[in-house]
Each structure stands twice: as structure tokens, then as C-alpha cells.
């Protein structure tokens, strides 16, 4: 019982905080939070929830292909909640597994972009001078290209470097690097601006006067104070990275077709729009929409909640 008290205290501290209070007052935030949580949990627990494993080709029966939702297949008699695709894969299971890949790629890419962007931003903002000039010009150049083009370029270069036999295994990592590298700039710019403001404040000067090393000042003193806007961008970036992954997979340069992500599923489903098999496209597209929209709304809400001027 002695243990639970501090835990309860932490819980109440979070519950009573300004951010939590604003969350409770915002119906949009609550709905988006619930939707995002349901999709994330479903994706994480896919191996236990999904009725079939769509990534195991040997478990598929081609004759199950094109089964409409909730109708028994004419040959096999199997019934599927959301029907099956052209290879006899259960669409519901494939969405769960596909969302897993989409989320993994999205979150990993943003973490990579964050790590790169925060480091570059802190150094540029704190050091100033030519370091700042070089880093920010690189950022400017990259900002002038659409990020999807940069991701395609990185993807193409990586395909050239990686030996053909490794390509399929490395596809997901290449995707993460491609999206991460195309996305670091906004983190760098925001962190650089905030760092320049913070480094002039008294607490930083005090730390400098008593001889704290620049690295320690950056990490212990400045970083915690610039994390607010970074969290907002990170949340919105996750939504954008999930869409970027879907776009790349839709273009056929993403994950292998035997391990579909949401974007690959939409690409497959799109072929059957005219022939009446609407479910192959509709359900993955709705899932992608719900996931991206809810994460984006959460980011929006977080921006408002963390903005002191709106309080």
C-alpha cells in the first residue's frame, strides 16, 4: 500500500495539470484520443486479435479471393468481416497488420527526424555564426523540395547501394530513413529559434558563469525548455509520416507486396474500384483516414493546450 500512494499522487498531479484539464474540456481531443488509442492498441495486439496471419503466404487460400464482407465465399464457404482481397487475404487482419507497419514506420521516422532536427537546431541556435549559417542553408535547400520527392530520392539511392538480396529485408528501414531524413528540417528550425531565445535568459547565463560545459547547458537547461513546440510538431509529423509511408507504398516503392501496409492495401484495392470489389479499398482507406486525422487533431489540441497565450 505504501507504493500506491506516490503513484496515486503522480496520477492526480497529471489529472489536475493544465494540459489534462484542457483535454477533459475538449470533446475533439477526447474523441481523437480514443480513436487513435483503439487503432494503436489494435495494431499492437494484431497477432492476438487478427483471425488470420496475412503475412504468412502459406496460410492463404487463393480460392478465398474477392469474398465480399459478411458473405460466405462461393467455393470455400468462409466468411470474413471485411471480405478478402485478390489473394484471399482477410482484409480485417491485413488492416491490423498493415496499421502496425504504418505506425512503426511513422513513429520511427519521426523519432529519427526529431533526433536529427533537435541536435541540428540546438547546435545552430546555441553556437550561431557559420555553424548556424551552414545548417540553416542546408535546411532551406531541403525545404524548397517537397518532402515526398526527397523521400523518393533517398529510397532510390538506398536501392542502388543495398545489394539486391538484402533489399526486401531492408525495405522498412529504408522507408524510415527516407521519411525521417525528409522531415528533420521543421524540428531544426523550431528548436533553433527557441534556443536563440533561451540562451539569452538569466538561468543560462548563470549556468555559463559557474562554468557548466556547453553540452550540459544544451541538454540539461535548454532542451527541456524547447520541448513544448517539439512535441506539437512531433505529433502532427507522425500523422504526416503515416501518410508519407502510405504514399510511397501506394507508388509501389515501399514495403514488399507480400507484406502490405495500409498504403499497399489501398494500391491493391484501387485496381478493383471499377469491378465492384469496393471493400478492398474502402476499409484500409477509412483506417488510414481515421488514424491520420485523429493523430493530427491530437497535435492541434496539444498546440493549443501548450500555448500560454491561449490560456
Amino acid at each position: 500500500m505504501a507504493d500506491t500512494k506516490p503513484q496515486r499522487r503522480v496520477f492526480f498531479r497529471i489529472w489536475d495539470s493544465d494540459v489534462a484539464a484542457s483535454f477533459r474540456r475538449s470533446p475533439v481531443a477526447i474523441v481523437s484520443g480514443v480513436v487513435a488509442l483503439v487503432i494503436v492498441l489494435a495494431a499492437l495486439l494484431a497477432p492476438w486479435i487478427a483471425p488470420t496471419n496475412p503475412y504468412d503466404p502459406s496460410s492463404l487460400n487463393l480460392m478465398d479471393g474477392f469474398t465480399p464482407p459478411m458473405e460466405p465465399n462461393a467455393f470455400t464457404g468462409n466468411t470474413y468481416l471485411m471480405g478478402t482481397d485478390n489473394q484471399g487475404r482477410d482484409v480485417f487482419s491485413t488492416i491490423l497488420y498493415g496499421a502496425r507497419i504504418s505506425l512503426f514506420v511513422g513513429v520511427s521516422a519521426v523519432l529519427l527526424a526529431m533526433a536529427l532536427g533537435i541536435s541540428a537546431g540546438l547546435v545552430a541556435g546555441y553556437r550561431g555564426g557559420w555553424v548556424d549559417a551552414v545548417l540553416m542553408r542546408v535546411a532551406d535547400v531541403q525545404l524548397s523540395f517537397p518532402s515526398i520527392l526527397i523521400a523518393l530520392l533517398i529510397f532510390g539511392v538506398a536501392r542502388g547501394i543495398i545489394p539486391p538480396t538484402q533489399r526486401e529485408a531492408m525495405a522498412i528501414w529504408v522507408l524510415i530513413v527516407a521519411i525521417g531524413l525528409s522531415d528533420w528540417v521543421q524540428f531544426a528550425r523550431v528548436v533553433r529559434g527557441a534556443t536563440m531565445v533561451e540562451k539569452g535568459k538569466e538561468y543560462v547565463q548563470a549556468a555559463r558563469v559557474i562554468g557548466v560545459s556547453p553540452l550540459r547547458i544544451l541538454i540539461r537547461h535548454i532542451l527541456p525548455n524547447v520541448m513544448g513546440p517539439v512535441l506539437v510538431i512531433a505529433t502532427i509529423s507522425v500523422a504526416l509520416a503515416i501518410i508519407a509511408e502510405a504514399t510511397l507504398s501506394f507508388l509501389g516503392v515501399g514495403v514488399p507486396p507480400t507484406q502490405p501496409s495500409l498504403g499497399t492495401l489501398i494500391r491493391i484495392g484501387q485496381q478493383f474500384l471499377f469491378s465492384g470489389e469496393w471493400w478492398i479499398l474502402l476499409f484500409p482507406a477509412l483506417t488510414l483516414l481515421a488514424l491520420a486525422l485523429s493523430v493530427n487533431m491530437l497535435g492541434d489540441w496539444l498546440r493549443d493546450a501548450l500555448n500560454p497565450r491561449l490560456r
Binding site: D56, P57, S58, L62, F75, E168, T258, Q271, F272, F274
Partner: protein, 528 residues
């Protein structure tokens, strides 16, 4: 009508307007033609590949052409015969009064030059002319082709042999064909000078190619005066373009959309069998495979090849992947081709238990290997590969599917960089020798350029070479049957099916299905 009768001048004006409209329609008839892929190159002797040859047939011409019914018809050659005194010489009489697009005259020199060019080592058509030793122009309109021995069927090999202008080729430094697999470019890749019904107006590879009728063509001018050729790789986009009126002809109709298009007002779908079979093949010769996770070559074991054949469920692929639009067959040649036999065609139901036992007998844990597949060449090619990946998974073979565009896929086979692949093969000569020359003969001297199996059998090679010069057709057919028996016994190919073709056109346009999927827009007629 009565109101028009009232005033004669007005009536005249209206009829003049109608006349000018009608005349305009008759003069300029644009046909917008979409298919899955673009020509790989416009160099007429570089790539022996379906869409490339189909587009080139509009710009360049061949000596003879294949009619819809499969028979040979005169084109640039008016007569062809074996020399009366020497069975090793083919005598060709050429059409007089033919000019190239740039105005220069077509003569025997151009045929001699083109025959030399198509036999160059960078040519993709070399195996078709391997029995030729040389050609001479007897006069302006007579050519003698010297063969290594009697070659009674050689003229069948000329249906995709395009004639280039020797002067133009010399002036633009394109005396030898582009080496496509090496990534080479030359002037002829984007510029043309043929004798065909259409000349090239503009070309933006993979985007749009515009052809206009050539006024100086020797035959009557075709009803279609302008062709806008657009490759659209996405199946749904291609159909949407037809439904929305953006294009008039869609050549590679996705099988899933045939039923819907047939029910759509204003659109006609024509279907027919194509002279093309779709098969898997694998390296059964190398001691070790680059992409396999075992120490030897699994495909070198006859048991593994048998197991893969037992795992292939052709009927399921036909019903689900192809929606009935295919002819499942075990014979690695289409029924159009001389040498096809009912017994080669037959296949049994899949037997996963026996296949599994065969694989586990050699590899208790199974094995994995890469499977290369095109995704923009054949009907549902990627889906066929995916389906087979699933079937192989059930017998302990993990195939990692790598599907990519055909411009990346075909060089893998030509350069022996794939262990296991899908390929489709059409037979323009309608004879088994064509299949043997390209796919079975050991790779050497222009033979076996698509022999990705690395198959090498000296005894078969000698028999294949002798086919070109055999005059006794009965003995020749017996030898073809014998070669097929050996190829089937060694399981060089794992055939899936023969393709069925579907063309969808706007109502009022007549375009018959061509068995080689080489429709000519010059043959299009309009109903009014």
C-alpha cells in the same frame, strides 16, 4: 426542316457548314490509344519485346506481315521463294515505289543493310537470323539471302524484321543497334525514319507518343490520320480514361474490368486468345544460388522442380486471379504454335502433401529464394507471382517476391541475375524453333538470349540448330516433338497459362483482336 426550306441562302449555308464539318472529320481522325506500357526503345533492332514491336510496326515496315488469321502476307516484299537452283538461297522481290519518311527511296541496299544490322551482337532479334550467312542486292528490287543450309521456314522469322534506311543510319551514326541491357542510347532510340503508314511527330518516353499518317505511303492512306499513344500502367486509371472519354482504345484491359466494360453503353470489348504463354523458370544449373539460403542449388534437384509443379494450382489462378480470362496449360507454348500437343498441355490437380514430402526429403527446414516478377507487362503478372508465393509457402519454399517494372525485370534474365522468375513468351514465327532458339539453346552466338534457366544441353543444341535447315517437314516435326519431350522431362519451364486478350474500344471503332497482340491502328475502321 420546314424552317430551313423557307430560305434558300440559309439552307445553303447550313449544308456548306455540314459539308465542311464532314470533310474535316474525314481528313483528320485522331485515335487515342492507351496500353499498359510504352515501347522500350524506337531502335527497330534492339529489343525483341511485344509493346516495342507493336509500336514500331506503325513507323517501320517488315518484308512480310502476319495476318489476323496467322497467314503471311506481302508487305515490303511482294514475292518470296527459295532459289530454283540452290535450296540455301532465299530470293525476295521487293515492292517498287516505296519511300522512307524523309523522302529517300527504298531499295535492296536497305534490306541488305538492315539484315546486317539485325544480326549484330547488340540486336535482340539475332537468334531469328542465326542461319543467315549474308545477303546481296542483285538489282534495286531483288535480294538474295544466303543461308548456312536449306532453311525452308526462314521467311516465318521476318514478321518483326524492320527495314531501316541505310543512308539515314549512316548519316546519324546508328549503324549498329542500341545495346539496351548495357543502358546505351543512340539517335535511333528517339528518332525514326521508316516506310510505315505513320511517321513520328513527337515522343516523350513513358508519357506520350504522337504519330501522324505518312502521305507518301505506298498503300492507301488509313482512316486514322493521327495516333496519340499513351502508356497508362495503373489498371484502374486506364479503364477510367476510356470511361471518361480521354482515350478511344484500351489494349490491355484488366481482367477484372471486362465484365463491367461489356455492360457499359458506348464501349465494345473484343476478346480472343493471344499467342503467348506465361511461365515460371529457374536456374537449374549453377552450383549455388545468389538468393537462396542453402548451400547448393535447390532447383538442380529434379524432386524440387517436381514439387513446385505439384504446388502450382493453375485452376485457382485461372478462376480467381484471371477471372476465367486464361487457358491454364502445362505446355510451355501456345496452341497456335507448330509443335503444340494435347499431352503437353495436360496437368493434374495440385498435391501439396506429396510436394511437401519431396521438399522436406531434401531440405527438412525448407529453403528461401527470391522470385522476380514484372508488374506492368502481362495480365495480372504480379498477382500471379503473389499467388504462387502462397502456394510455395505451403510446401516449405519461402519465395521473396520482388516485383518491378519490365525495364528492370527483363535485363535480370538477359544478364543472368535472377534465380527464379516469371516470363511470358509470344511466338511470332508460329513455330517451336523460335522457343528453342531463345529459351532452350545454350546461351552462345545469339542463341538463348532469354534462357534464364542457364539450361545447357549440347545434344539438344545440335538438334535445335538442325531444325533451321531441315526440309522434310515430317521428320522436322518428329524432332520438335522429341526436343519438347526432353525439355518437359527436365522441367525447364513451369507453365501457368496462355493469355486471353481483350481490347476495349469506343463504339463505332472496329479493331479486331490480333493473336500476337500486335494490332495495327492502320487497320482501324469507323462505323458511321
Amino acid at each position: 426542316m420546314t424552317s430551313l426550306m423557307k430560305s434558300a441562302p440559309r439552307r445553303m449555308m447550313v449544308s456548306a457548314l455540314a459539308l465542311s464539318l464532314f470533310a474535316g472529320a474525314a481528313q483528320a481522325e485522331t485515335l487515342r490509344w492507351a496500353r499498359v506500357a510504352d515501347a522500350l526503345t524506337l531502335d527497330p533492332h534492339s529489343q525483341n519485346e511485344g509493346p516495342t514491336s507493336t509500336l514500331l510496326h506503325h513507323i517501320y515496315e517488315t518484308l512480310v506481315r502476319r495476318d489476323i488469321d496467322g497467314s503471311l502476307k506481302p508487305r515490303l516484299a511482294t514475292e518470296w521463294a527459295i532459289h530454283a537452283d540452290d535450296p540455301t538461297i532465299w530470293v525476295l522481290k521487293l515492292r517498287e515505289g516505296v519511300t522512307f519518311h524523309d523522302g529517300s527511296a527504298f531499295t535492296a541496299e536497305d534490306v541488305v543493310f538492315s539484315l546486317d544490322r539485325v544480326r549484330h551482337e547488340s540486336s535482340g532479334f539475332r537468334a531469328l537470323h542465326s542461319a543467315v550467312t549474308g545477303a546481296t542486292a542483285i538489282d534495286d528490287y531483288t535480294v538474295h539471302i544466303q543461308m548456312a543450309g536449306p532453311s525452308p521456314l526462314y521467311v516465318q522469322n521476318l514478321t518483326n524484321f524492320f527495314i531501316m534506311d541505310s543512308g539515314w543510319a549512316a548519316a546519324n551514326d546508328v549503324l549498329v543497334p542500341q545495346n539496351f541491357a548495357a543502358g546505351e542510347e543512340n539517335f535511333a532510340v528517339r528518332n525514326t525514319n521508316g516506310t510505315g503508314s505513320y511517321k513520328l511527330v513527337s515522343r516523350d518516353p513513358e508519357v506520350r507518343t504522337v504519330l501522324a499518317a505518312f502521305d507518301g505511303h505506298w498503300a492507301q492512306t488509313p482512316p486514322v490520320t493521327e495516333i496519340i499513344y499513351t502508356p497508362i500502367a495503373e489498371a484502374a486509371t486506364r479503364v477510367a480514361a476510356l470511361l471518361s472519354g480521354e482515350v478511344d482504345v484500351v489494349q490491355d484491359v484488366p481482367v477484372q474490368d471486362i465484365a463491367r466494360l461489356q455492360q457499359t453503353d458506348g464501349i465494345t470489348v473484343a476478346t480472343g486468345p493471344e499467342n503467348r504463354n506465361i511461365f515460371f523458370s529457374y536456374d537449374q544449373v549453377s552450383p549455388k544460388l545468389a538468393s537462396a539460403n542453402v548451400e547448393d542449388n535447390p532447383f538442380s534437384h529434379p524432386e524440387i522442380r517436381e514439387a513446385m509443379a505439384l504446388a502450382l494450382d493453375r485452376d485457382a489462378i485461372q478462376q480467381v486471379v484471371m477471372r476465367g480470362q486464361s487457358q491454364p496449360s502445362a505446355a510451355p507454348l501456345p496452341p497456335f504454335v507448330n509443335g503444340w500437343r494435347e499431352d503437353l498441355n495436360a496437368y493434374g490437380a495440385p498435391d501439396y502433401d506429396r510436394a511437401n514430402a519431396l521438399v522436406r526429403g531434401i531440405y527438412p527446414d525448407g529453403f528461401s529464394v527470391d522470385l522476380h516478377c514484372p508488374n506492368d507487362r502481362y495480365l495480372n503478372d504480379e498477382a500471379i507471382c503473389q499467388a504462387f508465393v502462397g502456394m510455395l509457402g505451403r510446401i516449405g519454399i519461402t519465395a521473396n517476391l520482388i516485383s518491378q517494372s519490365r525495364s528492370l525485370h527483363f535485363p535480370l534474365i538477359e544478364r543472368w541475375e535472377t534465380d527464379f522468375y516469371l516470363l511470358g513468351w509470344g511466338v511470332p514465327t508460329f513455330d517451336s524453333a523460335y522457343v528453342f532458339n531463345f529459351l532452350v539453346h545454350t546461351r552462345e552466338e545469339g542463341y538463348g538470349s532469354f534462357n534464364g534457366a542457364r539450361y545447357a544441353n549440347a545434344e539438344l543444341d545440335a538438334q535445335i540448330e538442325s531444325l533451321a535447315t531441315m526440309t522434310d517437314l515430317e521428320a522436322r516435326n518428329a524432332l520438335i516433338a522429341q526436343i519438347w519431350d526432353k525439355v518437359m522431362e527436365d522441367r525447364v519451364f513451369l507453365n501457368v497459362h496462355n493469355q486471353l486478350l481483350a481490347y476495349a474500344v469506343r463504339d463505332g471503332i472496329n479493331l479486331p483482336v490480333h493473336p500476337e497482340n500486335q494490332p495495327s491502328m492502320a487497320d482501324v475502321t469507323f462505323n458511321n
